[in-house]
């Protein structure tokens, strides 16, 4: 009688068979970090993908403003108004420069501005650059301030916490709009004669936005840290003698990434809106193209030349909406308790 291969009824012991960790099946069920899980969920969320694309488009427009203008052969230089505007036409452009009086023309795809003849496409892309630059830098500064102060306040507690919380409350009580409206003219007056005036305006606006935007993040981080610091791994680290800075950076911060990402993604649209709002009120940056400034100039023309008003308006609405929805989607993706 021939013997076939020995029968095996399974593993000889109760231990699990060690699998090859590099096999694809293994990779599929390998533990993922919360961020990776969140990213996967985000990718499957259609709205988030659309919004991310829109935001990415705007970032492209803002970064490549110069080449875009070169392709269409437009620029933000001032032109003599009478070359483009009808003298007795109520401020509207001559027919050869596009809507509303004439047909679409490739020379000025977005039309030209009423009263002064600036090209709308150039002002649109450079306005996008202004909005995104200011809000991104302000977000980074505000985030940096908020996170560091929140971490320190939450972890150290005691008198440090009280001082920092006092400043948080102080800045929260100052109404942002009033402060911006009063600080702007003071700084403008001080630096009006300086040749770097437009840069100073830029920095001034970023500081104003950042100094009134860090408080939310600080409070959030402080709250999270207060609960985290009583956890065993933190206490273990303290007992082991880890220096505070390492605990903050290596133990606490990685656990805070989720709320930080959410807060940042919501700070960005808030700052874009704030910058445009301030420009509409006539303060903020006046020396560089800005969507808010264009809207301010466009309001009287909402009946006779609506395109001029809608271009920056749609720009702001699209950008802020996309950022807000993206932020919402990120928050949903990061929260383990929600199910899709």
């Amino acid at each position: 009688m021939a013997q076939s291969a020995p029968e095996t009824l399974g593993p000889l012991s109760e231990e699990a068979i060690p699998e090859d960790p590099n096999s694809s099946k293994a990779k599929e069920i390998t533990g993922k970090s919360p961020l990776q899980i969140a990213f996967g969920r985000l990718r499957r969320d259609k709205i988030a993908v659309v919004c991310a694309t829109v935001v990415f488009l705007f970032i492209l427009i803002a970064t490549f403003a110069g080449p875009i203008c070169a392709i269409f052969n437009v620029n933000t230089d001032t032109v003599l108004a009478s070359t483009r505007i009808n003298i007795l036409g109520g401020g509207l452009p001559k027919p050869e420069f596009g809507p509303p009086v004439g047909p679409f023309t490739w020379a000025h795809p977005f039309g030209v501005a009423p009263n002064n003849g600036d090209d709308n496409l150039a002002y649109f892309v450079y306005g996008a650059r202004t909005s995104l630059t200011i809000s991104t830098v302000a977000t980074i500064v505000a985030a940096f301030l908020g996170i560091s102060l929140g971490l320190v306040a939450g972890f150290l507690g005691g008198i440090v916490d009280r001082i920092i919380s006092f400043f948080v409350d102080l800045f929260l009580t100052i109404p942002f709009l009033l402060a911006a409206l009063s600080i702007a003219p003071i700084l403008s007056q001080r630096f009006a004669t300086s040749p770097n005036y437009s840069k100073i305006q830029f920095i001034d606006l970023i500081c104003v936005l950042a100094f009134f935007g860090w408080m939310g993040l600080a409070r959030l981080i402080r709250g999270e840290v207060l609960s985290l610091r009583e956890r065993e791994f933190v206490q273990a680290a303290r007992v082991l003698g880890m220096p505070t800075s390492r605990i903050l950076l290596k133990e606490l911060l990685p656990n805070l990434v989720a709320p930080i990402v959410v807060a940042i993604s919501l700070l960005l649209p808030a700052f874009v809106t704030a910058e445009a709002g301030l420009a509409y009120l006539g303060i903020g940056v006046t020396e560089v193209p800005s969507w808010g400034h264009t809207i301010l100039l466009g309001v009287p023309f909402f009946e006779t030349y609506p395109l001029y008003l809608y271009e920056p308006l749609i720009g702001i609405v699209a950008l802020v909406l996309a950022l807000n929805l993206l932020g919402d989607a990120i928050r949903d993706a990061l929260d383990p308790k929600t199910r899709r």
Partner: protein, 588 residues
């Protein structure tokens, strides 16, 4: 255009209009008046005008009139001695604050000088160094107390105080022509609360005699300013409080006043029409709203909704001009404002050729377009200091032809001074940053100048440029070599245009022009016979501009007023460049 912004600073125009206008309305006036009135057209005088004033045909009493003043902050206070602006003076002189004389608008648009508190237009001695006015009986303040000649004398005394009222018209006229000019500093500065130290006026019953330091033939015109009216004696009229709560003596009194926001006037039952040859009291109430948003006001007026039917707007956005023109018919009124806009290069820092180059480098139409004006309608090219219609104005051109934007000629003139493409002439100027239209205008100016061989440093400022230009100790002002001024004539005489802008040391001489020969010429014109003066001013205008060219006239200004469909007698007042408030009524 200017916009109102919540909580933000005033968004005024880069060049604000100042000074009450005294020119004549529509037609060509003949100035050089004598004391007899034989049907002269245009600016005339009628010392025998009867009161009460003839009723406006179809006028009805009652109703509330709302007046919108877009982009105009209005007066900061209502003190009559302090008022030297078109807005404040046009409102108060018509409705609340009477003075020695006033203007009456005739049905054809011409303007006549008629008596107000005085019984006639004053009597003078042969060389105009002494004037007598008799105050009428029956004129009262809003609280029923009578107006006395002493109170008028006190008002005149107050106008001498240039330190207390530094932007008031007394700085130009009282302190130049009245007795004690240059010596008596005013009752508040000299701690003279009863005006005993002056001696410029003497009162005998109802008659007040005014002594002049120099011949002053235009005292009757100067008497139309509310600064030449009565003030309550003593502490009741102490500045600055009096400016917030004045006593009225016109057909309306102040119910509430919030500077730069709103002024509400209600009927003054103590005003007696039989003492007033020009005013009426038709509407029950006037509400003046300052600092309005131009776009919003345009929409209100064009919509003809119930709110706008009894409203008036003192300005119209250029983007709505076509629509308003076709839609509103004669409810849209174009009124020449007797005002000229000027560029004022610093006389000590520039030469004649450079100034001519600036006149060729300024992009007139582009600046008007960018600033929301209607070229040819609200702004017309200017050739002289004196505005069109002023008696004696000469049609001359400084450089042979009307200045237009001509970069080549500008470069040619600059090269004669040693400047060229490699060495552009540096210009430093200011602009009002809070008004987006002012920013756009500055961009056009910079572009025009830089194409013409200049290099422009434009300093943004957060307040009215006048605050900078009129302050000799201002740090920024010291750096500037190009300023500006908008000036309206105070009455139809070159006396109110040329000396306030070009006399050495005059407050609004932003060019800082100073030539003794010109100052002497100005003083000597007032000693000439009255009929020769108008032409003499015209000749001085031409001589000064052709020889020295201290200020560059860039535009003559016209205003556009819009009247609601229920407003009756909606017309412009050519004497001051504002709606004619005296004759407005509501069609019920």
């Amino acid at each position: 255009m200017r916009r109102s912004k919540p909580l933000a600073l005033v968004a005024g125009a880069a060049l604000l209009t100042l000074a009450a206008c005294g020119g004549s309305g529509g037609g060509t006036p003949k100035g050089g008046e004598t004391r007899t009135y034989k049907g002269e057209e245009g600016g005339t005088k009628d010392p025998k005008a009867v009161a009460p004033a003839a009723d406006v045909p179809g006028a009805k009493t009652g109703g509330t009139i709302t007046v919108y003043l877009p982009g105009d902050p209005g007066p900061a206070d209502l003190d009559p001695t302090d008022g030297w602006s078109v807005t404040g003076n046009s409102i108060q002189q018509a409705l609340t604050s009477r003075s020695l004389t006033q203007y009456l608008r005739n049905a054809d648009g011409s303007i006549t000088l008629v008596p107000d508190l005085a019984t006639d237009l004053g009597t003078h001695n042969s060389d105009y160094t002494e004037w007598k006015f008799t105050i009428r009986d029956g004129v009262k303040w809003e609280d029923g107390s009578p107006i006395t000649a002493d109170q008028v004398a006190w008002g005149l005394c107050r106008s001498m105080d240039s330190d207390t009222f530094p932007s008031g018209p007394g700085t130009e006229y009282s302190q130049t022509y009245f007795y004690g000019a240059g010596k008596y500093k005013g009752p508040y500065t000299e701690k003279d609360p009863n005006c005993t130290k002056w001696g410029g006026t003497s009162v005998d019953g109802n008659t007040i005699t005014i002594k002049m330091a120099k011949p002053f033939p235009d005292m009757d015109y100067w008497g139309a300013f509310m600064a030449m009216g009565p003030s309550p004696l003593g502490k009741a009229s102490t500045p600055p409080d009096y400016g917030q709560k004045i006593m009225s003596n016109g057909p309306y009194k102040v119910e509430s006043f919030r500077a730069e926001e709103e002024l509400t006037l209600v009927k003054n039952d103590q005003w007696d029409p039989s003492t007033d040859p020009a005013r009426h009291q038709y509407a029950d109430k006037f509400i003046f709203k300052f600092n309005q948003d131009q776009a919003k006001v345009d929409q209100i007026m064009l919509s003809d909704n119930s709110e706008s039917q009894t409203a008036v707007s003192a300005a119209l956005g250029s983007n709505n001009y076509d629509k308003a023109n076709s839609q509103l018919g004669n409810r849209l009124v174009q009124q020449s404002s007797q005002c000229t806009s000027f560029l004022a290069p610093d006389y000590n820092k520039t030469t004649l050729n450079v100034r001519k180059a600036i006149a060729y480098a300024y992009p007139y139409e582009d600046a008007w377009l960018a600033g929301g004006e209607v070229p040819g309608v609200t702004r017309v090219p200017a050739n002289s200091i004196m505005p069109p219609g002023m008696a004696g104005k000469k049609e001359y051109f400084v450089d042979g032809e009307q200045f237009t934007y001509n970069p080549d000629k500008a470069k040619e003139l600059l090269s004669q001074e040693g400047y060229g493409d490699s060495k552009p002439y540096p210009i430093t100027m200011v602009y009002y940053e809070l008004d987006p239209l002012a920013v756009a205008v500055q961009k056009q100016i910079t572009k025009g100048f830089e194409e013409s061989g200049f290099k422009v440093t434009a300093i943004p400022v957060q307040e009215s440029p006048y605050n900078i230009w009129l302050d000799p100790s201002n740090k920024i002002n010291k750096k500037l070599n190009l300023r500006g001024v908008n000036w309206c004539s105070d009455w139809p005489s070159g006396l109110t245009m040329i000396p306030p802008l070009t006399r050495t040391g005059a407050a609004y001489n932003t060019a800082q022009f100073s030539e003794k020969s010109m100052d002497d010429e100005m003083s000597s014109i007032t000693t000439k016979p009255l009929t020769d003066q108008a032409d003499a001013w015209g000749a001085l205008d031409q001589e000064m501009e052709t020889k020295y060219f201290p200020i560059i006239p860039t535009a003559f200004r016209n205003d556009l007023f819009v009247f609601g469909s229920k407003i009756g007698n909606g017309v412009g007042d050519g004497s001051i460049g504002a709606p004619y408030y005296k004759g407005l009524f509501v069609n019920q």
